[in-house]
Amino acid sequence: MSLDAQTPVGDPLPEGPPKDAPIEFSEAQLLAEPEFDEPLIAGGVRCHGGFIDGEYVSPRTLVRMPAIDAWQSRLRLEGPGVVDISREFMPPHYPSLEQAKLLLRAGVQKPITRSLTMISIVEGFGAMIRDVPVPDLRAAIKEDLAGTALSHLTAGLFEAHARDEAGHRDQGGHKQMWEAARDLAFDNPRVPGDVLARLMQGRGRNRRPPLFPTLPEKVEGLIATMANVMVIEIFADDVFSWGEALLGDPEVSAAAEAASRMVSYIRADERPHVEYLRTALSEVRCRTLLTIDGGEIPGREVVDAILAQQLRGIASSRPREQREALHEEIRADIAEMRLSSELMRKFTALDDGWTFPRSEDDPIEIALS
């Protein structure tokens, strides 16, 4: 494959003024596939990605990954750094690894199957990122956007992300990969009928008013979406650890090796997602946003406020609600199997009682790395 990128593909950008080295790619390049020795096939389903010299390589990373590295290193040279989310805000997966094992050992599979199915669906919805309304960023941001992740969002980055999450044409994506991991580990379990009911619980709440009413609606919308997806993607790391450990435990998993490996592939694929979103948000952060009334707002102010809002939203109230709902469901699942309340007691005792580490009015600082 011939590449007409103006930067070498590979390691972070070498020395030199970045402005001389605009980093531009075509959509086809950002979607380009490495040449795999063999494809990834899971549970009879052809998935994305594949193997080179026996190692798993993520899909569409031939150019995309080096490109992200290049944008990011340019940013590090120019600006204050790349935004990150402190892991202390990350709510642990519920039911926890120990809780899940306890349930599975007692033969209660439903909560775990449900949980894995919901993870697969939520992953799949990640594909909706290709439909985010993206405003004309060149008109919305004062500074130049040449050679940034920002200028490539609709030129391949969102599309690659969408394909990774939900698959494309004859290839499965993360949605199908999680399903495969579930089906391998638990030998094609029955999917509980209430999965969608759970997914749609508590909907119909009103949307938040905009934080920056003077910004064009789509601009704040785009930043908020990227912030939200980034936080979810970073927090997903805990889900991957949980999944790898649980599905990899031969005591509870019928195909420990294969199932756990599958989760590790998904985990590997998420890295470009986290990194391009961190990069794009940081690029906004070191620029200036133009308001509809002719004014300016420092990007930093906007990005940090939106990130803090997202963090509070995702990390504080939701886990508690979800945990309560889940607790009730698991209680019902256990009751359905006519198991002793002893199991429920043990289950509850294993609850680590995690809470969000900041109170309502504590400020949330955005980390850089």
Binding site: I121, I129, H168, G204, I314
Partner: protein, 430 residues
């Protein structure tokens, strides 16, 4: 009694006359074609379809009862009937002349076992709406609560039975004479089942209660309270609910209600009913949905509440989702899970059908909305391609979504099913 017999004869005759004309309109031209040695298949039948549909509609609105219902059923079976029928006959709704009040009073008094004024302090003699099987009156209970009383037409069970047997007889004759008959009898059986359900108002009350319970956590959904003491198999006494008809744009604007939020809310409610609860009103026509400021959503009429088999919602979700995300492989699996069947076993037909549907959408990609055009295309593809068999539940659900899509378009928006399911920030295209 004699009157009844006479009425029966007249009804049968009228039904027979309409059926005969319809049949002749089809067969006449093809006989001519044969005499003139033209290929009868080459003839464009759409004008004849339309004429026939109009005549059936006229006869039905005159005779009501079963015929109206039959129209409504035909209106739901776009997989069997040509579009002209579906469009014309699905309009058979509550725009019918009311019955004499005395007839209504009789039913109420008989069923409640009391004179009207022993239960109601007021009872408006002019109905709020008159539909195929019942009409609705506004009234007031003795304690002052304002109620809507839905009353079944007195002789409706009888009429339905008579009509059903005349239609059945005609179908048998038709099947004997037509060398390639459409399979109408199974359709009649299906209708018979639906009618039995719809005529049992106790069941309607139960269904309404069930839906209210399902939406306990959503204060924006309003289901009128039933006053069970005054509910029977033929009478429903319920809280009178007011609101703006969902398609009344002027009134919505006047009340300052945002159309977008109406569409989003409505989609959220129906998606949840169909996909999550597997229990839904199969007939979400605009007459059954009212909007209050908020917006709050008032739902009435649970006669056609339908239970979906377990796993159906997930299958449907998978189908739409795979269509949206261009995943052919998952799409085929979803068609299978929903109970579609191909007689040849060649599953690529599914993908072709899906592609045809998608091509009918404006953007030429599936964006989570089943528009009327797309469902039309689906059913046309299936009629043309008899190797594929569609599960009836799918037909009902697709039609419900198409109705919602119609409402959404009237309000200038789109009925995106998937968006209303998306978690958190992925609710993007609002």
């Amino acid at each position: 009694m004699i009157l009844r017999v006479a009425e029966r004869v007249v009804r049968s005759a009228l039904i027979g006359y309409a059926a005969g004309s319809v049949w002749l309109r089809y067969k006449g031209p093809s006989w001519l074609d044969r005499i003139a040695r033209r290929d009868p298949k080459a003839r464009d039948l759409s004008a004849i379809h339309q004429k026939n549909a109009d005549q059936i509609y006229r006869t039905a609105t005159r005779l009501r009862g079963l015929l109206i219902k039959m129209c409504q059923v035909i209106g739901t079976r776009s997989d069997v009937f040509p579009p002209a029928y579906v469009k014309t006959l699905s309009q058979a709704h509550d725009r019918l002349p009311p019955r004499e009040f005395e007839e209504i009073r009789c039913v109420v008094e008989e069923d409640l076992g009391k004179p009207l004024d022993a239960v109601f302090s007021e009872f408006e003699t002019r109905p709020v709406a008159a539909a195929s099987l019942a009409q609705v009156h506004r009234a007031r209970l003795l304690d002052g609560r304002e109620v809507a009383v839905k009353v079944q037409y007195p002789d409706i069970e009888h009429i339905v039975k008579t009509d059903l047997s005349s239609v059945r007889r005609i179908c048998r004759i038709y099947e004997r004479f037509d060398p390639q008959p459409m399979e109408l009898l199974p359709l009649l059986d299906e209708m018979n089942q639906h009618l039995a359900l719809e005529l049992d108002f106790c069941r309607e009350v139960e269904s309404g209660d069930r839906i209210r319970k399902l939406f306990e956590d959503n204060p924006a959904v309003v289901i009128p309270e039933f006053y069970k003491e005054w509910c029977t198999g033929r009478v429903i006494t319920m809280e009178f609910v007011s609101g703006i008809k969902v398609t009344d744009i002027e009134a919505l604007d006047e009340a300052g209600i945002d159309h977008r939020r109406v569409v989003q809310g409505l989609m959220g409610i129906y998606t949840r009913k169909i996909m999550a609860f597997g229990f839904f009103q199969a007939d979400p026509h605009p007459g059954n949905i009212f909007i209050q400021p908020g917006p709050r959503f008032v739902l009435v009429d649970f006669g056609l509440a339908k239970e979906l088999p377990e796993g159906f919602g997930l299958g449907l979700f998978e189908l739409m989702f795979s269509m949206m995300t261009f995943n052919d492989q998952s799409m085929i699996r979803a068609f299978d899970e929903l109970g579609f069947e191909t007689k040849t076993g060649d599953k690529s037909t599914y993908v072709e059908i899906a592609r045809r549907m998608i091509d009918r959408s404006e953007s030429r990609r599936f964006e989570g909305e089943f528009t009327e055009g797309m469902t039309d295309e689906l059913f046309e593809a299936i009629r043309e391609n008899p190797i594929v068999q569609v599960p009836i539940d799918f037909v009902l659900v697709a039609r419900a979504f198409a109705l919602l899509s119609g409402i959404a378009h009237t309000l200038g928006h789109r009925a995106n099913v998937l968006e209303s399911m998306a978690p958190g920030a992925t609710q993007l295209r609002s």
